[in-house]
């Protein structure tokens, strides 16, 4: 398609997006909707295949009814002669109306699927088979097609290339244009060894420098592929909620089938025989065809809305589960805060000077590949510190969650460490060193500012504290307030100390926080909440978040996070916005509300259809007095009811696709409101509709 170029998905500006009201954050995919309706019309006829119709019990019954009335059109006396004039014409009309009822239901599903396919095609166009430079183990560069890449392959990408597949950066630093998947044209920095910026997605373009990437996804399993599969709805299975509703609808249909099947026996006994065509009309009018026809469209449209908010969900179940979320657990670094903690200041203690501290800090961070470490090196260099030992003979000690320290073993045997203040205190004590009170003072000072303090020591001598500054993402406070109004409790989990955590928690506006949390703590909190029968959602981005993301009922991984986090989660947020959950919760609730509203409407409609058709059938037995709508004739009554039944389906397609508007009211208020609008409205609307159609029919002279 000509319009589906990658540029169609970019925003025109290069300034970062402002966190404005919800609709302005909504990335409407620029999809090609030309020919959508024509294709949908063709699809609706293709879907008349019985093997496809069988999947929808309500519509299948209508479909069978259409065939039977078609037979009675050919021979009205097929099932025995019944009174009535113009039977060929009347039966023929009923057949046509029933046929269109089925077609309209198929049309609703086809339109929803069509929109999803258009989105999928727009995404597909951004993916192209590119040639990749694969690095073989002996260092040679092979040019292969991106479809030949497998998990574990190493490729090199240089400025201007399109990244061939999803992967993890292991070497190099570059800026990448991710507009193909996020719609943001502001480039993103990618570098190895971090939780935040080490993963890249196939289809994005590298703008400068070069990267070595280890491929983490086989062809067809990458991110964009999963997004395409999701919006296309190709492998769509019914969600638990849809299955439950289908069971309900099948049950109602069965009840009405039994009732209508018994009716002729009673009617014949009373000397008021009813034609089969009329009986089938009664059956079709009574069974919940409105919701039966629109159910799948609602579900498909819901998943497309999720994709429009730049979230890749791997299952409809997760989206529906979101609707009931009680608690949201958030990581601090990288989720609530920007996560690129940078060294801001060196605070010396214990009689040392800033320069001494800078020297030791540099020594401890020389092997540190994390952004924090690099920023410490940068700050130390700016203060004039230089490496005064032979790096090749020194050993770097990596950070572990257990020791909470990292550092260097110098060639002369001296051990330099930096890390969490209490971990360093323990290290110093074990080396027989003394601790001074100005260490605690500096620690508190940094924590009060909301920063992360890293203590630095050489053997038993504490040199000082490095102040790592972290910034809370803008606009988060308002979003957490919104969550509170929706009844979602927010808990922030962080490995930082209590004071830092409480400052950030207060600034961000979360309900509760847990400081000094280990990865096991995250699991424990989630399990504790789940034990109280709460639905828990978790947002995270690091590899250490992966088990927790898998344990939570709904796991949302940031796109800027690691591959492990994305694999463990149910959903990935391409905008890396921890409060994106609000939008997904809204969509989840909307799905359930829309289904409920249309089911209520569908069943409420039945009341007026009773008053239309029953008096029409049983006039001979005196039930003609029930004709409160004063419909022209029995035949016109039946036809009007059926025409209304058929037309209401396409009339409600826009509502099904858009979803009932979510209002931030309490559950009781929402229920009351919807019962009035769809319940009472559902009772009254058909009376008016059927009467109008009846007037038109008798005016035209159809019956």
């Amino acid at each position: 398609m000509s319009s589906s170029e990658s540029s169609s998905l970019t925003t025109s500006s290069t300034i970062p997006p402002t966190r404005g009201p919800r609709y302005s954050r909504h990335h409407t995919a620029k999809v090609n909707t030309n020919g959508l309706y024509a294709r949908a019309i063709r699809e609706s006829f293709v879907k008349l295949d019985p093997r496809i119709m069988v999947r929808n019990p309500v519509m299948f019954v209508v479909w069978v009814g259409t065939i039977i009335t078609a037979l009675t059109t050919i021979d009205p006396n097929l099932f025995g002669s019944t009174p009535g004039k113009n039977q060929y014409f009347y039966n023929g009309l009923i057949t046509v109306i029933l046929f269109f009822t089925v077609v309209f239901a198929n049309f609703a599903e086809a339109v929803a699927e069509g929109r999803g396919k258009a989105q999928a095609d727009a995404l597909r166009a951004t993916r192209s088979d590119t040639t990749a430079r694969r690095l073989s183990p002996n260092g040679l560069v092979q040019e292969v097609s991106s479809t030949n890449l497998r998990k574990g392959d190493l490729v090199k990408v240089i400025a201007g290339d399109i990244i061939p597949a999803d992967g993890e950066v292991i070497e190099g630093i570059a800026s990448v244009d991710e507009s193909a998947i996020t719609g943001e044209s502001a480039p993103v920095l990618k570098e190895p060894g971090t939780d935040i910026s080490s993963s890249v997605t196939g289809g994005t373009r590298i703008l400068s420098d070069e990267l070595t990437i280890r491929i983490t996804a086989d062809p067809g399993q990458g991110f964009i592929d999963r997004m395409i599969a999701l919006v296309e709805g190709a492998e769509r299975t019914k969600t638990p909620n849809e299955i439950a509703l289908t069971v309900l609808l099948a049950g109602l249909t069965l009840i009405f089938l039994v009732v209508v099947a018994i009716l002729p026996l009673i009617a014949n006994y009373r000397g008021n025989p009813v034609s089969i065509a009329t009986l089938i009309s009664l059956l079709v009018a009574l069974i919940p065809t409105t919701i039966g026809g629109l159910l799948s469209a609602i579900g498909i449209a819901g998943m497309d809305r999720v994709a429009q908010f730049n979230v890749i969900a791997t299952s409809g179940r997760a989206v529906e589960a979101c609707g009931d979320v009680n608690t949201l657990i958030l990581d601090k670094t990288g989720t609530i805060t920007l996560g690129n903690r940078l060294a801001e200041e060196f605070i010396p203690v214990n009689g040392h000077s800033e320069k001494d501290l800078a020297q030791v800090a540099l020594a401890s961070s020389i092997f540190d590949q994390t952004p924090e470490g690099k920023s410490i090196v940068g700050l130390a260099n700016r203060l004039g510190a230089k490496v005064d030992f032979d790096e090749t003979k020194a050993e770097g000690i990596e950070f572990t969650a257990k020791t909470r320290m990292s550092g260097t073993n110098l060639p002369n045997g001296v051990q330099v460490r930096k890390g969490a203040v209490d971990a360093i205190k323990g290290f110093v004590r074990s080396r027989g060193g003394a601790l001074t009170s100005d260490l605690d003072q500096a620690y508190e000072r940094v924590s009060r500012l909301g920063g992360t303090p890293l203590a630095v020591c050489k053997e038993g001598d504490v040199y000082g504290i490095i102040y790592l500054k972290d910034i809370v993402k803008p606009g988060i406070r308002e979003r957490f307030d919104q969550m509170r109004r929706m009844g979602i409790r927010t808990i922030m989990l962080t490995g930082d100390n209590r004071i830092t955590a409480s400052v950030i928690a207060a600034e961000a506006g979360v309900d509760d926080f847990i400081a000094e949390a280990t990865p096991e703590d995250k699991m424990r909190v989630i399990q504790a909440e789940q034990a109280e029968n709460k639905i828990v959602a978790m947002t995270g981005d690091g590899t250490n978040d992966a088990p927790a993301l898998a344990q939570a009922n709904v796991g949302v991984a940031m796109n800027s996070g690691t591959q492990a986090a994305k694999e463990a989660a149910n959903m990935v947020d391409l905008d890396s916005d921890p409060t994106k959950l609000i939008d997904i919760v809204t969509i989840g609730k909307q799905l359930l509300i829309t289904r409920g509203a249309l089911t209520t409407f569908s069943i409420a409609n039945d009341i007026s259809k009773y008053f239309a058709i029953i008096p029409a059938i049983f006039t001979a037995v005196g039930l003609g007095n029930l004709n409160i709508m004063a419909l022209a004739s029995p035949q016109s009554a039946v036809l009007s009811a059926l025409i209304f039944n058929a037309l209401i389906i396409p009339a409600l397609i826009p509502l099904a696709l858009k979803g009932v508007q979510f209002r931030p009211l309490s559950a009781d208020q929402l229920l009351q409101r919807n019962v009035y609008v769809y319940g009472v409205g559902g009772i009254i609307a058909p009376f008016i509709g059927i009467k109008i159609i009846d007037i038109i029919i008798s005016a035209v002279g159809l019956a």
Partner: protein, 88 residues
Amino acid sequence: MKNLKLVNEIQTLLADLTPELQSHGLLRSLPLKLFLALLLNLIIAPTVLAATGGSISRLNAYAIGLLGLVTVGLAIYLMMVMLQPQRF
């Protein structure tokens, strides 16, 4: 009389064939099920004819028999949807 004997013969034939058909897995396929339904109708239709005392024509009897079978079929289908919704 003759009709009754025919009916009995068909019944015994079906009873003998069913285990064989099942063992060949043929009983699963839809066309065969439809064919069997039509055969079943052959049995039911004369019953309908007898019940109404001959006031309706032969064709009507067959049609009503078939309609009855379709209705029962639909009812069974709906029960299956209620009990095993994942299959659909």
